[in-house]
């Protein structure tokens, strides 16, 4: 019998609204419902893929979990500890175990710092290593991500996009993290370089026992990377299931449409493509009921009135849809 994987991250009813101000007095006139009552678990050493179209709130969700953005409501438990309630000092310590790999490696590395200082910054902040030990660990990290020790004295501009992302990954690994939130880590890279980074992330996971929250809009890359996949739409989760379940047996109409919209290399047409009408609604005061109802091909009267619950319809397969009860 395999041991049940322990839950590393537990997100419950997480909410983040951004105020929209207007008028002369700049009063709050509306709110962007970026993350609206989201709950899910991430298990140890798995990759949970989070997919959705631009503006659906997936980046905000990732950042709110790591407390880079303050949540408005809900709880985030990391190894049983409530992250949102931690004091500044405790939070700093906890952050060592959680790291983030950012979307744009060109913008997320300080151009005035050498690679050694970028990767070594966590050591300095947390007083983990000094002098030769610090240097040794930087060299070790560089080798881990496929760079050479002599790279440590160079500046970010001397590297290509793929190498920059390797530096970003090395920095994320510096604190010996268990959980890494990777936000579109390859979308700004050349196609031929993406595979290198995806393979590197997989190798690191195998070697170091990492857990990933992999955020992306690229459904093919998410399938390649993930054990389980969550589909997000306008601030809410629509479906969450093992990757197999999402890709072979999608239940939510949005997931189905999303999957059928992807053009497959080498194929003239996708069979039974579902073309959604209209575009993604703004998350500013979204429509009542199911967020997807204005575009849904299977809409019923109830969909515009009641928000469907996020329920488990088969083992590990959650879906928020009125037609699945």
């Amino acid at each position: 019998m395999m041991e049940m994987p322990e839950t590393i991250l537990e997100v419950r009813n997480l909410k983040k609204y951004f105020p929209v101000r207007g008028g002369i007095l700049l009063r709050q006139v509306a709110a962007i419902h970026a993350v609206d009552d989201i709950s899910f678990d991430v298990k140890q050493e798995e990759t949970l893929g989070l997919v959705g179209e631009s503006g659906c709130g997936k980046t905000t969700l990732g950042r709110t979990i790591l407390r880079l953005i303050k949540a408005d409501a809900g709880t985030v438990r990391y190894m049983g500890r409530d992250l949102l309630g931690l004091k500044e000092k405790e939070l700093r310590k906890a952050r060592l175990e959680m790291a983030m790999v950012f979307q744009d490696p060109y913008a997320s590395l300080n151009p005035r710092m050498t690679v050694a200082d970028i990767i070594g910054e966590p050591f300095d902040i947390h007083d983990l290593a000094k002098g030769n030990e610090r240097k040794g660990r930087i060299v070790e990290l560089l080798k881990r991500v496929g760079l050479a020790p002599f790279h440590m004295y160079r500046y970010p501009h001397e590297f290509s996009g793929g190498q920059k992302q390797r530096i970003g990954i090395a920095r994320a690994l510096a604190g010996d993290p268990k959980l890494i939130v990777a936000d579109e880590p390859v979308s700004s890279l050349d196609v031929s370089v993406r595979a290198q980074i995806l393979n590197l992330l997989k190798d690191l996971q195998d070697d170091l026992g990492l857990t990933y929250l992999y955020i992306s809009h690229d459904l093919s890359a998410v399938e390649h990377m993930s054990d389980r996949v969550a589909v997000m739409y306008v601030g809410k989760l629509m479906e969450l299931a093992p990757a197999e379940g999402i890709y072979r047996n999608p239940l939510h109409p949005y997931t189905k449409a999303l999957l059928s919209a992807i053009p497959v290399p080498g194929r003239k047409a996708v069979k039974n493509r579902i073309i959604l009408k209209g575009s993604v609604p703004t998350p500013i005061d979204p429509p009542p009921g199911c967020r997807f109802n204005p575009r849904c091909p299977h809409r019923q009267p109830i969909c515009a009135k009641e928000d469907p619950e996020f329920i488990e319809v088969s083992k590990g397969h959650f879906v928020a849809c009125h037609s699945r009860k």
Binding site: E53, S54, S160, G161, G162, Q163, D190, V191, S192, V193, R194, A195, Q196, L198, N199, K202, H217, D218, L219, S220, A221, E223, H224, M225, Y247, A257, L258, L259, S260, A261, I262, P263, V264, P265, G266, R267, K268, A269, V270, R273, I275, L276, S279, V280
Partner: protein, 331 residues
């Protein structure tokens, strides 16, 4: 195939003269597009595919310059046309859809008036006819309530609608050649699916030849008849769509196809291409792909591989396939 190709590019060279040196963005490109054919031009960012498009439109601005080659369109060399003559062709017989629809429109004019401008420039029509034409073409590209939406400004359109409006503008004068530079790259997948559907329908309606530039091989597959693969300023392989996906010959094309995660294949590990795309200031000598190529031979770093026809209309620039070269077998 009937008659001469609609567009044929011979040995096109477009260089950028910057302080650091000369960037050989397009370096000896040969291409041809037949009537009513859709050619996909694929390659990674910086390989020169957009520069090819801008060269056809003669929209290369300093420090860039077209330094050599010919672009034959309807029996005339576009590179020998005067600026005056080019202006008549642009937006008329040859038109272009740009990558970023929201920033390619003028924000201070209504969408309708921008489309009307193109019609007025190229067609001899009256004011009220122009307005009718604008509404008609907006309707054709699927803008709901086109009469009213023509009065809107670009910021009132969503990304997908802007792309539809751009397409409407490009098609308003019934072009013979439409150049579409990454028309869906900035759009979400569900919107991309809408635009793909639109382009397929328009292809049937308008009968224009299309040069579709892109790096998304899925999008290319759905729309194109033929594909040209570019790498570092050169075309490395050219063939019918099916041949590229089933029997790609150039090591770069093969590696590119295998390095993309695909929904229909559950490979544990992706194939990687070592190294990165070379800078075009000092491109590698010989075949530009040789430093990253697993089949590289001694000759590859010395001589440039010629284009060899290895099957009907299937050409490849690689020494593995030259007549007297070795015939090493690939998968």
């Amino acid at each position: 195939m009937s008659g001469a190709p609609l567009l044929s590019i011979n040995d096109l060279k477009t260089y950028f003269f910057i302080t650091e040196g000369v960037v050989n963005a397009v370096d000896g490109v040969h291409l041809k597009i037949n009537k009513e054919e859709v050619l996909g031009l694929v390659g990674e960012s910086g390989c020169g595919k957009s520069t090819v498009a801008l060269s056809i439109m003669r929209l290369i601005r300093p420090p860039g310059k077209i330094v050599g080659g010919e672009i034959w369109f309807e029996g005339h060399d576009l590179l020998r046309k005067s600026e005056e003559e080019m202006r008549k062709i642009r937006g008329g017989k040859v038109s272009m859809i740009f990558q970023n629809p929201t920033s390619s429109m003028n924000p201070v004019y209504t969408v309708g008036s921008q489309i009307a401008e193109a019609i007025k420039l190229h067609q001899d029509v009256r004011k009220h006819e122009t307005d009718e034409k604008v509404v008609e073409i907006l309707h054709k590209v699927g803008i709901p309530d086109p009469g009213k939406r023509a009065e809107d400004y670009p910021h009132e359109y969503s990304g997908g609608m802007c792309q539809r409006a751009m397409t409407a503008m490009a098609l308003s004068c019934n072009p013979m050649l439409l150049i579409a530079d990454e028309p869906t790259t900035n759009l979400d997948v569900t919107i991309q699916a809408q635009i793909l559907e639109l382009m397929k329908a328009l292809r049937k309606d308008f009968g224009a030849s299309i040069l579709l530039i892109g790096h998304n091989l899925g999008v290319i597959s759905e729309l194109c008849d033929k594909v040209a693969v570019m790498y570092a300023g050169k075309v490395v392989e050219y063939s019918k769509l099916e041949m590229i996906f089933e029997k790609a010959k150039h090591p770069y094309t093969q590696a590119l196809l295998e390095s993309i995660p695909r929904l229909d294949a559950g490979a544990e590990r992706l194939r990687t291409i070592p190294g990165t795309v070379p800078r075009l200031i000092n491109p590698p000598p010989g075949c530009r792909f040789h430093p990253r190529c697993e089949y590289a031979m001694a000759v590859c770093s010395k001589q440039e591989p010629p284009h060899v026809e290895i099957g009907q209309g299937h050409t490849v620039a690689c020494f593995l396939y030259t007549e007297n070269g070795r015939t090493k077998r690939h998968r």
